[in-house]
Subunit: 471 residues, 4 copies
């Protein structure tokens, strides 16, 4: 049995994508460093494909960016056009087979695709392709997207992309590489982020998060708009509104809550700042007197800072996180097992002993770690522990490219807030309300809150069929 | 620079294939041991796919069979139906991307294909697929075969295979796995071998060479006939004559000369015995008096035994081959470099000193090692060295799945026999004539001798286009 | 050229050690998890040795704890007695040869040793051993210690340890494993930390840092006193004062500044708390008005919190650290190179734009990264940047087991504070004074401040000889 | 359970050694290629140590020579002096810890040692060292040798070697590297081979077998005499008779029978030729009429050639050996298990069907494979099978560096010849007699035949103690 000490109780993002056009630059090396800045969005596989005007060359593999690439394989990726991908795989063991970008030859030349998101009508589209005689080598919706592009009608890639885009229902932030072009595409609902910026050397880069563009030194960063295709193949960007933006946009709230880097921009807002405001709102929703505010590191730090600021309660460190412990096949001994998360977190006892502690966390998904964290603080001598969560209870799965877990797994689907409080062992538990969350974000609409509310922006099938196939 | 001490001056076979249906047996483990017996046909990648009536599972990788498989990955391959593959890759570095079997999902369910041979009209077929909107992820003709099967018309796999087989021109010994069946297919010209046999446990197995079936304990072994489809999905074999055998069969003579294991049957003949007869014929073609007959190990041993028998000249060992030296990135020192093949071969000097030596080799392809072997014998003190080759001069490339080298590389395309003799430093050099070779084999027609004669059984294109694609 | 993005401008600790006696427990697995909590003290090799009353078994290797151990090798380490080690190697490439524990057989049975520290008279002791006819397989002082123990006089291990301890001059926190015992030893000057605690299951554990004992669930934690030997072989600890504590203790101040985990106790004080006080003292030493206090993550966070508290200047996040980028052989492109540390750090621009920023760092050693960090903040729009360092200028190398760098490398040995300020590009630069630092720590004496003052507690040889030996 | 398909029923040699002095040459690369020629003597670990006049550098590891070395590690081994080693480990899993050469620093500078053989008084010598206060890091007698050299008296290495050599009882062919010298040493009984030769480039090389010297292009090859020390540090060899040769020399007969390469010289004789004579003698010892003589490949080929020559019975190939199958953790299926060695050997049925077959093998040790080979021939249709073994029954273990197995394992210790015949299923079985074997070799005395006769040349302890130590 594999013990996963690394991934705490969080939803799992499925991918990060990146695209670069930079003449006279080593785009593969730029992509390599850019992917490091997207590593948090997927740590199980990585890949880079590069085009030089004639050919596309690719290297991808299982593991972290630093494990997949070395000077040898990177040096063979010549060219001015490039896309890259980091992947989190939701099922089974990670294999190179599922690593992206996905590269094929088409009638119009070679093409590579990298994808963040999930098509909810992939099964239908898949069946159409199979019926048309197209064999598929995986169960991935990215292959469906790729094969549809290969069979699309139109004289240019722009036309061909435009001709199939309307058939795709769901979340897709895509980068497409052709032999002499890079395209960035975002679905009309705007589910997942995608930003574009100007490189210091004169080309352009596109990435899932603006934080990765900042790493590459980009300026003039802006988000790709819902329904847009942006072509990076020239000194100036070419922008097409391929599909009209959806009437009801559906940006993922969880990018604010947890996924995105704090230094990224999402929906025009700095994520760090939104999180500070979420912390402030948490206090205002349910004011309390306490001695210290501590975050669960690292994602809750800005919210805890915000909470401390408006409440006047001092901010300090409560947990020390062991950054080296990750996945391991070693089972702890019985006496260690009883200590639960202590293997990953130690407590600064002096900061909590005898105190009323406000403990800020970003979310409770499966509910399998919060209780152990509360117990750590309790055992260290805290007088009271008041748990504050920067998002509402998560009651519904996500079908837009995030592995939240199933209904069976989601604790808030199965237990009331009071039951959850009891299970965590905290003295009080407060989830952010949907209304206050949106107020803190500063928007009333335009976001997908389906995981909180069950109101999916697109009709979803809760029981998709599985093909008898382990490609 | 990689120094290849392992592959001497021989053509390189491209693949070995294998299929098994064995109810109540661990077919993956059987395939594993069967692939060892086909390892000589491909040492760069290996794969096994298994079906259990519903799903197909696959494992493949770069390296020898013993490197690709372990108890863990093998134990996950459940089922009664199985195909396997060993691969020699002709171009570039070997990657898992090109390893076979090739597995896809089709409208009719999952399907895996493994292939030995080469389609000479792959480029045309490829273009048709691309035009139909099918994206291709490699430049391999096996993917072309697979995608054509995915798009084929017909109610059963037999019908679908029959519907596309007539379009395939060239060499193909194929095994196809579906969720509940294994098919073995041989092209109507009969280029490459394929045999089928009865397993001790009651099922059947098919393999590129009968020697591998012998390893699995098979009895009732027979060759798959040109143009046949054999279905292994039941207790009794089902045999279809899918395409009429070609009027002029074109079995590869080089399977007799070098490729096949000596314990395999090719065209109804034991290869070891054919090689003995080739040795006998070599003596009769040009009788000579000498003191000792030595083979270049290992492939020329039976021919040297035959030569010794009819000539009355004693057979003995001349060369000791180092079985451990293979490919290495270590360059020899200058003084070692001068010794050439000595790193791979030592001489039993006592057996050649002061003697007239007949040295038997199976073929001279690029001509880059024979001279060094002659020099080793000469330096050990041989009085005369008479080189005898069991096949005619190789003057033309092969387009049927064998990497013979290009016109530029083939020494006999560029030099006369006398020039080759001089270059090798031998006192006499005799190639087997085409006529004597066929007489020794015992057939006048039915074989492809294109590499000797340039008379290709099918029209070939000497300059195929390359797509701008490094999938 | 290897680019090291991971290790910023910090001294490098050389080792962490750990020992466990726990009857009826899987001590190897406990050690495995304990070593994770010491991983920050050495990331290049790790090892565990276990004794079962008769034999000692060992496994060690190059890499992180998670890379060196797996269920197979760990399951073979049976027994109740155990020691472990994490290593940072100062010279050359890391090899398993230098990994610890160091295991030998002696006349008194098997013995393994793991060491944190450095003997300054190792060269003399080494020569004595060689002269006595003992061959040495490495240049490590740990082997010298081990061989001296093998040749020591006395009836018990305690006696033998006591007989050689007086000859050792320098820093040594040692754990020693025999076939039925674990000993913990700390040098009489107390250079490096070592703590012992009671395990929940009834045995005892010893570790370089109390934070690791906390991870193992220990209670009743106390530091091993200078000159003590503690035996863990029984239900109660046995404590010997083997050597009288030095008149002038010499605890390493840098354990407070940087090395130790914030949740560890050093000299009776919680390191996190000392760092908060250092931050407070930094403000009091040179008060300033500013808009925001930011730490250089992670080690400066507590000091920044302390600074913010006493100054009233708001604390916030300035840098986002990329936790995935580490060592790589990939060179950045030219345009990336110009950005320096941006690959490892991004800035939260909103928090600094137009502001007077106080930036807290723990130390400046070689001075190769601070300037780039200042520039990141400057480029993000900060109005003024006031750099505050929680320790004095480092002007002298360490010979007690820490790789500070040589005189040539130490920026403060070569430049004045004003010159360093200019080079970093900051608007003001303030190092903590030695006096204020000691006041914040709360002690006047008992610490080694040689790296700041050049006053070494023991006479050191700045130019040790090297043997002609690369074992 | 690991299934070993590679090592058939043979004793296992424990090591090959090699030494080179070659000014102005890349000695490490020469050693690399030389070790390939000694790979058959040890396939579990390999190492090379090189000295440049000042330092010794070493690289060693677990695996084949081709796996342990690469251009990077080899290029770091600078210098003119070199020793190398290939190792077969008799117990436990192979680890780098036990790989040789063994390198230490001594009072006289660095020294590395590689060893083929076994000291029978190692346990006593070990105790003396431990008592002297020397810690030992392994249970290997090579470390004992090395540490004794480190503590030896004398002004030069020659003197020091001479001072300890008389204490060593047993088999040792040693190569010793100092910072500016290479020494080759052979025990006074001459148990194991060691030869020296002149390199084409002017230096000298020493190796366990002359076949390896031939690979390096050596001329003027001669064996190192029993009791000799040869120094390779200069343009001319320096030879010392360190210890008088034993009155009764004890050369290992098994080097003729099986261990040595056929192209090596042992006791002045070409091994291939001795094996031919052993085949001849086998026929003369018990003449028989038969239709075909077949060897068990590869070691019995020369004996079968000799047998065929004097008997007039035709020689031919009976078994085809699979060269790829080796060690594997994959268990065969039940139906495969019944076929036993068929996984490693196929039969050329045509050569044996209906025939009286003489099958030549070099030895029967544990008796676990011969029966399966006989059955293969029987199942292929042989009329009669007459097994002929080129050595006498092996009834006693070897204590001189060969893993023959224990009394319990040795089939001839436990069964009569007739019982062995029955168990193998052969129609007749004839072992070579000791007298005829020695006659074929051409010597009456001077050999160790203890494994056949139980008359050990030195008194041995059949039950050595084991220390409680797994270094």
């Amino acid at each position: 049995m594999e013990m996963d000490y690394d991934i705490s109780d969080h939803p799992r993002e499925e991918c990060g994508v990146l695209g670069i056009f930079a003449p006279d630059e080593s785009v593969a090396r730029m992509a390599y460093f850019g992917l490091f800045a997207l590593q948090h969005r997927g740590q199980e596989a990585a890949g880079i494909a590069v085009a030089d005007g004639r050919k596309i060359r690719i290297h991808k593999g299982v593991g972290l960016v630093s494990q997949v690439f070395n000077p040898e394989n990177l040096s063979q990726l010549h060219g001015d056009y490039c896309i890259g991908h980091t992947r989190y795989s939701t099922t089974g063991s990670p294999t190179v087979h599922n690593a992206q970008p996905y590269l094929i030859e088409t009638y119009y030349g070679p093409m590579a695709v990298a994808h963040n998101g999930n098509l909810i009508n992939a099964e239908e589209l898949r069946k159409e392709l199979l019926q048309h005689g197209v064999g598929l080598s995986s169960t991935s919706d990215t292959e469906v997207i790729t094969m549809m592009l290969a069979g699309a009608q139109g004289d240019t890639w722009e036309e061909r992309i435009c001709s199939v885009m309307p058939k795709w229902r769901g979340a897709y932030s895509l980068v497409i590489l052709t032999r002499d072009g890079v395209f960035a595409i975002r679905d009309p609902w705007g589910f997942r982020p995608l930003s574009v910026g100007l490189l210091p050397s004169g080309g352009h880069a596109v990435a899932s998060e603006s934080g990765a563009l900042q790493t590459l030194g980009c300026t003039a960063i802006r988000e790709v708009h819902p329904g847009e295709i942006i072509s990076l193949s020239d000194s100036a960007l070419k922008v097409f509104q391929a599909v009209k933006p959806a009437e009801n946009l559906a940006l993922c709230t969880f990018e604010h809550i947890y996924f995105s880097r704090p230094d990224s921009i999402w929906d025009g807002m700095l994520v760090h700042e939104v999180r500070e405001r979420l912390g402030e709102a948490l206090y205002h929703q349910s004011p309390i007197k306490a001695d210290i505010v501590i975050p669960v590191p690292d994602s809750s730090i800005p919210a805890a800072i915000g909470y401390a600021r408006v409440s006047g309660i001092p901010y300090n460190v409560g947990f020390i996180k062991n950054r080296y412990i990750g996945r391991t096949f070693i089972e702890p001994t019985d006496s260690l097992r009883k200590q639960g998360v202590k293997l990953k977190f130690n407590v600064i006892a002096r900061n909590v002993i005898g105190k009323k502690v406000v403990m800020i966390d970003d979310s409770i998904v499966r509910g399998n770690t919060t209780g152990a964290l509360v117990k750590l603080i309790r055992d260290a001598g805290a007088a009271e522990i008041h748990l504050r969560i920067t998002c509402p209870p998560i009651k519904h799965p996500c079908y837009m490219g995030v592995d939240m877990g199933t209904y069976d797994e989601l604790i808030a689907h199965n237990l009331s807030v009071e039951e959850i409080r009891k299970q965590t062992g905290s003295d009080s538990l407060e989830f952010m309300s949907v209304e206050n969350m949106m107020k803190a974000i500063g928007k009333e609409t335009g976001y997908c809150n389906a995981c909180f509310t069950g109101q999916y922006p697109l009709a979803v099938n809760h029981n998709p069929l599985k093909s008898g196939f382990e490609g």
